[in-house]
Amino acid sequence: MVLVLALGDLHIPHRAADLPAKFKSMLVPGKIQHILSPGNLCIKEVHDYLKSLCSDVQITRGEYDEDTRYPETKQLVIGAFKLGICHGHQVVPWGDLDSLAMLQRQLDVDILITGHTHQFKAYKHEGGVIINPGSATGAYSSITYDVNPSFVLMDIDGLRVVVYVYELVDGEVKVDKIDFKKPQ
C-alpha cells in the first residue's frame, strides 16, 4: 500500500501565492511515501515544503522553474508499476493525447504524469495511463484562466492503483476516485 502524491504547476510566487488552505490542511507529513511533480513549482521554497511532506520528491523541469538542474523527464519504479514524469510543454500540441502516448512509449512506463495544461485528465490507452493532476494552486495557464485547483493521490497496491482526485470546487474539496489494474 504505497501512497504517491502527484501535483504540479503551482507557479508560486508568479501566478499564485500559496496552495489553498484546505489542501494544505490535508497534506501532513507521515502519510505519503513519494511525491512526483511534473514541474513549474517554481522556487526553491516550494521544493523545501514538498520535502517536508515526504523525503522522496521527484521533480521534472517546467519552463518557469528557477532551478535549472531538474531533468526533462524522469522514470521510476514503484511496486509493480513503472511511472514516468514529464512537464509536457515539450510535447506539441500541448495536451494532445496521441503525442503524449508517443512520449509514454518512448519512456516505456505504465503511468505517465504530465502537466502544463492545468486541467485534470486521466486517460487510458493500450500503452498505459496518462494522468494530468492539473494545477494545485489554480494558477492560470497559457490557454485558460478558468482553472480549479486539483491534485492527485495514488494508492498503489499490488497490480491495482486507486487514484484519488482532489479538486477544489466552489471552495469545497471534492474527492473522486479512479481504479485501474495493470494487465497481467
Binding site: 507521515g30 502519510k31 493521490l153 489494474k181
Partner: protein, 465 residues
C-alpha cells in the same frame, strides 16, 4: 541417573541416596548454570539453546512417557500402580538415559525416578476430570518439569485460561480462539483492503477496469474515504493513528531477548514469532485504551508465548498466539496498575508496591534495610522498578525465569505476594556484599543482579514472611 563419569550400568540396584545430592553437576553448560533444581530436570537449558526447535524434536526418551495427558491416562496410571512394572520402567529409563545421545546433554546427577515421579504426578493431576487447583498449585510451586508440554498446560490452568473441569476444555478453547480471530479481523486493518471490499460489494463492473481506451471514469466516493482524510470515522485516519502505536510495538518486539534464536533468529520461525507478539500487543493496546502499550509488556508476554509455542502438542502450539493473548490479559490484570503512569503515586501504583517490598525487607532484616535506604541511600526505585513491573524476567536467565514463574503463578494469594517475597530474598542473598558496599557498588550490584543458586533463592523466599 548415573553421572557421566561412571561408565558401569548399575541398573538392578536402587540408586544410593548420596548420588541424589544436588552437589553433583553435569557436563558444564556455560550459558545456563544454576538452573538445576532438585527434581527438576531442566531440559530448558537445551531447549533454549536449540535453534527454534519445538521441544518435541528432542531425542529425549522421557518425552515418550510424558505424552499429553489425555492419551496416557490409563497407561500412566497403570504404570504408577504396578510396583515392579514401575521399577522395570525406571530401570529401562536409566538404561536409555545412560546410552542417550548427545542431544541429551544434561546428564544431571539426579535420580531419574524423582524426575519421572514428578512428571507422573503432574500427569495424573492434569488428567483428572476435575482438576484440584490447590493441589496443582502446591505441585507447581516446587517447579514444573520440562517435558511434554506439562508446563504449558499447567500455566493455562493456573492462569484460569482453561477451566477446572476437563470436559469443558475443548469448548472453552474453541470459543476463546474464535474470539481472538474476531479481534484480529477487527483491529488489524488495511485500508486498501477495506476500500477494495467495499467496491466489490457495490458490484463495480469488471468491464470498466479492463476498458481498453478512453478517458477514465471518475467515481464519487463516500466522504472521508480517502487517504488524506482527517475525519475520525475514516478508515484511513484510524490506520495512520495506529501506525504510530504499531511502530512503538515493533521497536520493542525487535529487542526482546536478542540472544535467543526463538525470538531474534534469522529464520522464518523467529519472524513468525515476532509478528505474533506484535499482533498480540497491538490488539491488547487497542482493547485497552486506558493503558495502551507500555514498554515492558513485551517482556511479560515473551515467556508465555515461548512456553505455549514450544508445547509438544501440535494443535496447542499452532494456537499459541491466541492462548498467550488470553493468558497475558489474565496475568496483566493483576499488574496493570504498575504500567499506568497516572497511578504511580497512588495506593495501587508501582511506588506503593515498591514500598510494600521495602517494608517486608524491614520486617525481616532491619539492618540490611537500614543500610540500603539510609546509609547508602539506594532508592529502591532504581532497581525494584524493573524487578516488579517486568516480573523478574530481566534479572535471570530465561530458563530460570520460567522456573520462577512456576512459583509466581502457583501462589494461591496471587503472584504479587510471592513476587515481593522473591525480591526480598534477592536482597537477602546478597546481604554481605550489600552491607559492605556504598551507593555506587550497591546500585551496580542490584541493577546487574549476579547469578545465584536459584534453589537457595527460592528457599529464602519461602522463609520470608
Amino acid at each position: 541417573m548415573m553421572s557421566a563419569g561412571n561408565g558401569s550400568s548399575m541398573n538392578p540396584k536402587p540408586v544410593p541416596a548420596w548420588l541424589n545430592s544436588a552437589a553433583w553437576a553435569s557436563k558444564p553448560r556455560s550459558p545456563v548454570r544454576g538452573s538445576y533444581s532438585f527434581g527438576d530436570r531442566s531440559n530448558s537449558a537445551s531447549l533454549v539453546e536449540s535453534i527454534g526447535k519445538p521441544a518435541g524434536d528432542f531425542d529425549d526418551p522421557l518425552i515418550n512417557i510424558a505424552k499429553p495427558p489425555k492419551e496416557t491416562i490409563t497407561s500412566q496410571e497403570e504404570s504408577d500402580a504396578t510396583g515392579p512394572a514401575a521399577q522395570a520402567a525406571q530401570a529401562q529409563i536409566s538404561d536409555n538415559s545412560e546410552h542417550s545421545s548427545d542431544t541429551e546433554e544434561n546428564k544431571v546427577a539426579k535420580s531419574p525416578s524423582s524426575f519421572e515421579y514428578r512428571v507422573s504426578l503432574f500427569n495424573t493431576e492434569l488428567s483428572r476430570r476435575r482438576i484440584h487447583l490447590a493441589e496443582l498449585q502446591r505441585l507447581s510451586s516446587q517447579g514444573i518439569p520440562d517435558a511434554g508440554g506439562i508446563r504449558a498446560t499447567t500455566w493455562k490452568v493456573l492462569l484460569g485460561f482453561l477451566p477446572k473441569n476437563r470436559d469443558e476444555w475443548a469448548t472453552e478453547l474453541k470459543k476463546k480462539r474464535a474470539t481472538y480471530s474476531v479481534f484480529r479481523e477487527e483491529m488489524i486493518i488495511n485500508p486498501s483492503e477495506v476500500t477494495r471490499k467495499k467496491e466489490e460489494m457495490e458490484a463495480l463492473k469488471a468491464a470498466e477496469l479492463d476498458a481498453l481506451e478512453g478517458p477514465l471514469q471518475r467515481h464519487e466516493i463516500s466522504h472521508d474515504d480517502h487517504p488524506l482524510s482527517l475525519g475520525s470515522k475514516s478508515v484511513w485516519h484510524q490506520f495512520f493513528q495506529d501506525t504510530e502505536l504499531a511502530e512503538q510495538i515493533n521497536r520493542d518486539v525487535k529487542r526482546t531477548h536478542p540472544d535467543m534464536q526463538f525470538f531474534c533468529g534469522d529464520n522464518d520461525f523467529a519472524c513468525e514469532n515476532q509478528e505474533a507478539l506484535k499482533r498480540i500487543l497491538f490488539i491488547f493496546a487497542k482493547l485497552n485504551p486506558g493503558i495502551r502499550y507500555v514498554q515492558g509488556m513485551n517482556e511479560v508476554l515473551a515467556p508465555l508465548y515461548y512456553v505455549f509455542k514450544t508445547d509438544v502438542d501440535e494443535s496447542n502450539a499452532n494456537h499459541a498466539e491466541e492462548d498467550s493473548f488470553f493468558c497475558f490479559v489474565e496475568l496483566l490484570s493483576d499488574f496493570r496498575d504498575h504500567f499506568c503512569q497516572q497511578l504511580d503515586n497512588s495506593a495501587v501504583g508501582i511506588r506503593s508496591t515498591i514500598s510494600q517490598m521495602t517494608q517486608l525487607l524491614r520486617r525481616h532484616d532491619e539492618e540490611l534495610w537500614r543500610h540500603l535506604e539510609i546509609t547508602s541511600k539506594v532508592n529502591p526505585q532504581f532497581y525494584a522498578f524493573r524487578w516488579i513491573t517486568l516480573l523478574l524476567t530481566q534479572e535471570f536467565k530465561f530458563a530460570d525465569s520460567l522456573r520462577l514463574w512456576d512459583s509466581l503463578l502457583s501462589n494461591p494469594d496471587g503472584p504479587l505476594e510471592i513476587l515481593l517475597r522473591v525480591c526480598c530474598a534477592m536482597l537477602l542473598c546478597l546481604r554481605s556484599r550489600l552491607l559492605a558496599g556504598d551507593f555506587t557498588t550497591n546500585l551496580k550490584l542490584l541493577q546487574h543482579y549476579p547469578a545465584v543458586d536459584f534453589n537457595h533463592l527460592l528457599k529464602v523466599a519461602d522463609s520470608v514472611i
